[in-house]
């Protein structure tokens, strides 16, 4: 029997779970997140291992979901200097790199920038002639002044050869280990957003090395020495630790994704809506074929517009600690403020003096928390019913906002605050709840598969549609295998074709995604 260990590092708690190879949860734990991250991971791993009685060498894989990279960007900490090379001269000169960045973040990166010859038109023609010598002389000038490179070619999704050539030249000059990020491997259409994501990816290089090393050290210290380590990406799949070292930006947003995937696993549903009700907010996501639906709008990270793959999440100010108030006109309001982690001191049912959504659930007999007697006296039935109606309406509206078509959906309820949700909701078919819902995050990390996405423009008049789709699938599969997938298990989970208006020759943006099981040595 082999086992898997999953760790999720959140803002408040670091959770750990152990699953069998049949994905049964045999142990789970929560401990506080520590400032250095590593200590918290070590504590949780040690704690979860106390509850099991098998040899630690039977743990063959270990997965980590982490918010380290997001925090580094938001706090402007531990970022390294970046040289930015754009290919497409003379196009795009009107908006140089960093045009829309907050000044303090630009300062943190000490950037050097150059827009050089190269780049593509939307149909694959060249904007100008790429020149090795121009790239080399730029790199010579920058020697010793930058710690990483970001390379962005105009329409590199049509053809990324020039980006790769710049990486090759940089490795020749600066050594094989010099960090270079190519935009085609990071983002999608929209040069500014893709460039921003590529620059951040380079700047996060050291944070990721430290995170990866820290995770490996924690496992070693806990005696889990036989496990292959993986990191979770924001699209609900895993990356090998080597791939993660190259693509740190892909870890951003993996938290909500893991709870959606964990909830899906607990309910065995492939298509449903997932609501994670915490103490202060409820995060709502949508599960499509077992994966979180992606956001279609540009996502801001720490004040910077990017377009990398993020789950489509709607957050509303309603949680188990949200404060309930009677207004002068007789109406009842819920939130958006919350007693948060102080719920065990402040809520009525725990002897406090603040009416929370949890107290409403206790008053109406929906939940058994604290001392129901304390609540009975202080809350009238009429008030409780009004508050419950308000909670119900808020949840129903957010669910409706996330639907893409009319009709009922199934809902998976997870998170510590799930007790405040009613038994029925308009627009919802069946509601699923689970006792392991509080560690859905870490479960999501543990059951993740290896996936890879590929996006490119094809001109169907030149490359027939069938050939184009086959080519894209091959490219995606190669990427997945490189990231650690077992090639014999990869399959398509998504194909999107978007025609480009105005473009001749039937030009279409093809985006597809393959996923596969982890490749486990010796299997």
């Amino acid at each position: 029997m082999e086992y898997r260990l999953g760790v999720d590092v959140g803002g408040t708690n670091t959770d750990a779970v152990i699953l069998t190879e049949k994905n049964e949860v045999i142990a789970h734990t929560k401990s506080h997140t520590t400032p250095d991250i590593q200590t918290g991971i070590t504590n949780s791993v040690n704690k979860v291992l106390q509850n099991v009685n098998f040899d630690k060498s039977a743990i063959s894989t270990a997965m980590l979901g982490t918010t380290q990279c997001t925090n580094a960007i938001v706090e402007r900490k531990n970022l390294i200097s970046v040289g930015v090379i754009r290919l497409g001269y003379p196009a795009t000169l009107s908006l140089p790199p960093f045009t829309d960045w907050p000044a303090d973040l630009v300062e943190a990166l000490h950037p050097l920038t150059a827009t050089l010859r190269g780049g593509n038109e939307f149909d694959g023609r060249k904007i100008s002639q790429f020149d090795d010598a121009e790239v080399t002389s730029t790199l010579e000038k920058w020697r010793g002044k930058v710690s990483s490179l970001a390379v962005i070619g105009v329409f590199s999704l049509v053809n990324d050869e020039e980006e790769k050539r710049v990486a090759e030249l940089a490795h020749q000059l600066y050594g094989d280990n010099f960090p270079v990020s190519c935009s085609a491997a990071v983002g999608s259409l929209g040069l500014i957003e893709r460039e921003n994501a590529t620059i951040l990816n380079s700047a996060l290089n050291q944070v990721m090395q430290r995170t990866a090393d820290g995770f490996i050290n924690s496992l070693q210290q806990a005696g889990v020495s036989a496990a292959t380590p993986y990191l979770c990406q924001n699209d609900g799949t895993l990356m090998s630790i080597d791939y993660a070292r190259q693509h740190p930006i892909l870890t951003i947003g993996s938290g909500p994704t893991n709870s959606i995937r964990g909830a899906a696993y607990l309910s065995s549903l492939e298509n449903a809506m997932v609501m994670d009700i915490g103490g202060t907010t409820s995060d709502l996501g949508v599960l499509v074929n077992g994966f979180p639906r992606e956001s279609s709008v540009a996502v801001d990270v720490g004040g910077i517009r990017t377009n990398f793959r993020m789950p489509d999440i709607l957050s509303i100010g309603l949680g188990g600690g949200s404060i309930v108030r009677q207004q002068e006109d007789g109406s009842v309001t819920v939130g958006p403020d919350s007693v948060g982690y102080q719920i065990e001191d402040k809520a009525l049912c725990f002897g406090g003096d603040t009416v929370t959504t949890t107290d409403i659930a206790v008053r109406l007999g929906q939940a058994q928390v604290g001392d129901p007697q304390l609540v009975q006296k202080k809350i009238s039935l009429e008030f409780a019913q009004k508050a419950a109606a308000k909670i119900k309406a808020m949840l129903e509206e957010s669910i409706d906002n996330m639907k893409t078509k009319a009709g009922d959906v199934d809902l998976l309820l997870v998170g510590g605050g799930a007790i405040v949700a009613p038994q029925t909701l308009k627009g919802v078919g069946k509601i699923y709840r689970d006792s392991l819902g509080s560690v859905a995050n870490a479960i999501g990390a543990t059951i993740a598969q290896i996936g890879s996405e590929y996006e490119r423009l094809y001109t169907y008049d030149k490359v027939p549609r069938k050939e184009a789709l086959a080519d894209a699938q091959q490219k995606a599969t190669d990427q997945a295998v490189q990231a650690g997938a077992d090639g014999s298990t990869t399959h398509l989970v998504l194909v999107e074709e978007t025609p480009i208006a105005y473009a001749p020759g039937n030009t279409t943006k093809v985006k597809l995604k393959v996923v596969g099981n982890l490749h486990i040595a010796g299997h």
Partner: protein, 362 residues
């Protein structure tokens, strides 16, 4: 004459997204270009039509092509000056100023980029009072001003000068050149004298966009205040509040077509609205009854914040407020109705002003 700063550009872009009547594309790249041009260059002077030199030449400068390509390959920066100079050289007259071709998306921003680069004043006028999908749909066209001489250029420095027998020919030839240039190009066309622009343009449009942007920005003053201000500035009629329940889209001939279906909320509960669009919103019906049609404006905004959005942004579940704005009087002439009325877009009924339709519905 007044100076335009970065915050003004933000507000104008927001307002132009509203006045674009569902079209015009995402102004993000245009707004960035304008803001960084102002940061690096001069504050822009905005002049009113009363300040025009009757003898000088005034011309729009605009982007043409696929908005999605524009997000990947944006201009070098010197294209705007090049086309404007080429058009002025053709006419052997001095340039008095520049103005936007339409109130909508990226093209509301281009004159500010050029203004900051050169110090040439921007005129508070356009020739649509909104956005429209085709080159000949302008009040200048109605007044007999021709598209030609037209200049078209790309970031590489290629340049075309068009002198066409009809405005429709200019549309056809320019579209082909745009594709060859990489599906985006910069154009200048419809140049005219100050005297003619005073007579045929839609005056005050940029100030109106800016006022709308300012209203949208001030959430803190409350929804009722916002609605009342919007009504005062644009004569808007609040046609509908509702939730999008269906969107059907197709792309053909370089245009996005579609229909949006909205279920009523608040005081419109129990009613259903449909909106047809071709890049811009064309006609709106409530329970099968006509509520507004081109050339009047059908504008979309978020039901709570009033943040405007384009027809491309509409998704199932969006809650939106729909406004009908009376178009400029110049469009309500027989020639105007013939050029952009419902029959031009293939509908078998006559134009009725949005405010009269509202009276009929009570």
């Amino acid at each position: 004459m007044r100076k335009i700063y970065e915050q003004d550009v933000e507000d104008i872009a927001t307002g132009a997204s509203f006045m674009g009547a569902g079209g015009g594309g995402d102004p993000y790249v245009g707004k960035l270009m304008a803001k960084s041009a102002i940061k690096r260059g001069n504050p822009v002077s905005l002049i009113s039509v009363d300040e025009l030199d009757p003898e000088a030449i005034y011309a729009p400068v605009a982007c043409m092509g696929a908005p999605s390509v524009m997000t990947e390959k944006f201009p070098k920066g010197d294209e705007f000056q090049r086309v404007l100079q080429a058009v002025a050289d053709q006419q052997h007259k001095k340039i008095g100023g520049i103005f936007p071709s339409e109130a909508g998306g990226v093209n509301s921003m281009i004159p500010f980029v050029l203004g900051a680069q050169t110090g040439i004043p921007v005129v508070d006028v356009d020739s649509m009072g909104r956005a429209f999908p085709e080159l000949q749909m302008t009040t200048l066209h109605l007044a007999g001003v021709t598209v030609s001489p037209m200049a078209i250029t790309d970031e590489k420095g290629n340049m075309g000068l068009l002198d066409t027998v009809t405005d429709k020919w200019a549309e056809l030839l320019a579209r082909d050149m745009t594709v060859e240039m990489g599906a985006t190009a910069v154009v200048s066309l419809y140049s005219t004298t100050g005297e003619k622009l005073q007579e045929a343009g839609i005056a005050g449009i940029l100030t109106k966009c800016q006022q709308v942007g300012q209203i949208v920005r001030q959430h803190s003053k409350g929804h009722d205040w916002q609605l009342q201000q919007l009504h005062e500035i644009t004569n808007s009629l609040h046609l509908f509040d509702g939730k999008v329940v269906d969107v059907s889209q197709t792309t053909s001939g370089g245009f996005n077509h579609g229909q949006i279906t909205i279920d009523g909320l608040n005081s419109f509960s129990g009613k259903t609205m449909t909106i047809d669009y071709q890049n811009e919103n064309l006609v709106a019906h409530v329970d099968g009854q006509l509520a507004a049609s081109v050339p009047d404006l059908i504008c979309l905004a978020d039901i709570d914040s009033l943040t405007p959005f384009t027809a491309e942004d509409v998704r199932y579940g969006k809650r939106m407020a729909v406004f009908g704005l009376p178009c400029d009087e110049k469009w309500r002439t027989p020639a105007g109705i013939e050029t952009v009325g419902p029959r031009y877009f293939g509908y078998d009924y006559d134009y009725q002003p949005v405010e009269e339709l509202a009276k009929e519905r009570g």
